[in-house]
């Protein structure tokens, strides 16, 4: 049995600027954005000051959670980063959980997480320069001694790279392991029911009975737990790196 592990599907290419490939990562991300926007719009439409609906209570609870997260980790003067952290968390969780629907997870594509990490990196650099000035920022690479400059540059570059690969690696490993487990279960199913004689064994062996239920158990960890914890870690790192950049 041959098992192929591919990256994101490429649906088509827009034939401009040397061809823009439209991949599964992009399509699922757009879908997630539409779903998130619709859910938000549904949650927050027709809100009241008193006598609130359950819908509004959910919206206010989500807002309170995100607000508390940003305030506790960044501080009151950094509340302008509330939309970024909310967007990162929402996109990360919904993109990772897309695999539950049998869709491609955009976070299993390193380009997605690298894009987010580059945005965070740009903000970190912006705040470092704002806090120390251009001279101070450049000088920080030569500290504590000039010899350390290459390592400092590497360390700086690897901030976004490590953020991107941490998130990507966790999701893609879950994806690969899920595939392996599923393939193994089908093979085991085939072997088990193939023991039955004649046509009955042929038919039952091709129905993946073992594929029911057991993958869901693994998906509990790889999809649900992994998705939330990676989104949380990515947001935490974003908040901590940005809020400590000016110090």
């Amino acid at each position: 049995m041959k098992l192929e592990v591919n990256g994101a599907p490429i649906y088509f290419e827009i034939p401009i600027l040397g061809g823009i490939p439209i991949t599964g990562s992009l399509v699922v991300t757009w879908g997630a954005m539409i779903v998130l926007t619709l859910v938000c719009a549904w949650l927050t439409h027709d809100m009241k000051v008193r006598g609130i609906s359950k819908r509004q209570a959910v919206a206010e609870t989500i807002y309170g959670l995100v607000y508390g997260l940003v305030r506790d980790n960044m501080g009151q003067k950094w509340m302008g980063y509330l939309p970024l952290v909310t967007a990162l968390f929402g996109l990360s969780v919904s993109c990772s959980l897309a695999s539950l629907l049998g869709l491609w997870s955009p976070t299993a594509d390193v380009n997605t997480t690298l894009a987010w990490a580059l945005v965070v990196f740009a903000l970190i650099t912006y705040h470092k320069i704002r806090g120390h000035g251009v001279g101070g920022y450049l000088k920080s690479y030569t500290e504590p001694i000039f010899l350390m400059t290459p390592f400092n540059i590497l360390g700086e570059v690897f901030t976004p790279v490590s953020m991107a690969f941490r998130h990507f690696g966790n999701i893609v490993s879950g994806y690969v392991i899920s595939m392996l487990i599923y393939a193994a279960l089908i093979a085991a199913n085939h072997a088990l029911f193939g023991l039955l004689p004649g046509v009955v064994g042929e038919v039952l062996g091709n129905i993946p009975f073992l594929g029911i239920g057991i993958p869901a158990l693994f998906s509990l960890y790889f999809d649900w737990f992994g998705s939330f914890i990676q989104a949380f870690i990515f947001c935490m790192l974003t908040m901590i790196f940005i809020s400590t950049a000016e110090d």
Binding site: G7, I10, W30, A87, N111, L114, A115, W116, L118
Partner: protein
């Protein structure tokens, strides 16, 4: 439909995903954060207004309470003053009555004394007359001799005068 490699850098995907992130930020801001913020601010404003109103009501109630206490104190004072005035008036009145009664009693006593004196004088004068007549009769009998009233009257008067003093 092809597949990209599991780990492959796709510049267009990176650029578009950055755009998607920025767009998602805007969408979240517009559809989740702003509306909830607006509601929370409105609620805060309402709570503040309610608190202000409650505070104002309490201040007003305390003011009224003070006013009532003040007017109650005034009423008590007024009542005390009335009682005092009434007592004093009654006392004065009583003293007046007693005084008048005393004066009247004194006047009655004085009049009674004058009446008694006058009666006594009248009685004395009457007796004086009787005694002088009797004395003349007795004397005429004793001396058997007519005594001229005019000659001896002086003598008799003196006698009576002495008698009257004895009486």
């Amino acid at each position: 439909m092809g597949f990209q490699q599991l780990v492959a850098v796709m510049p267009w995907t990176i650029i578009l995903q950055i755009g998607n992130l920025l767009l998602t930020m805007w969408l979240f801001k517009k559809f989740l954060l702003k509306p909830v913020q607006k509601i929370l601010q409105e609620r805060q404003a309402q709570v503040d207004a309610d608190l202000d109103a409650a505070q104002a009501a309490r201040a007003e109630a305390e003011q009224s309470k003070k006013e009532y206490a003040a007017s109650l104190d005034g009423a008590k004072e007024e009542a005390a003053r009335l009682v005092r005035t009434a007592t004093k008036t009654a006392q004065d009145h009583g003293e007046q009555i007693v005084l008048e009664a005393k004066q009247e009693a004194a006047a009655i006593r004085a009049k009674a004394a004058a009446d008694i004196e006058r009666d006594r004088k009248n009685a004395v004068n009457e007796i004086k007359g009787d005694i002088s007549d009797m004395a003349v009769a007795i004397a005429s009998k004793v001396v058997e001799k007519e005594i001229s009233g005019k000659e001896h009257e002086k003598l008799i008067e003196e006698f009576i005068e002495k008698m009257g003093e004895a009486v």
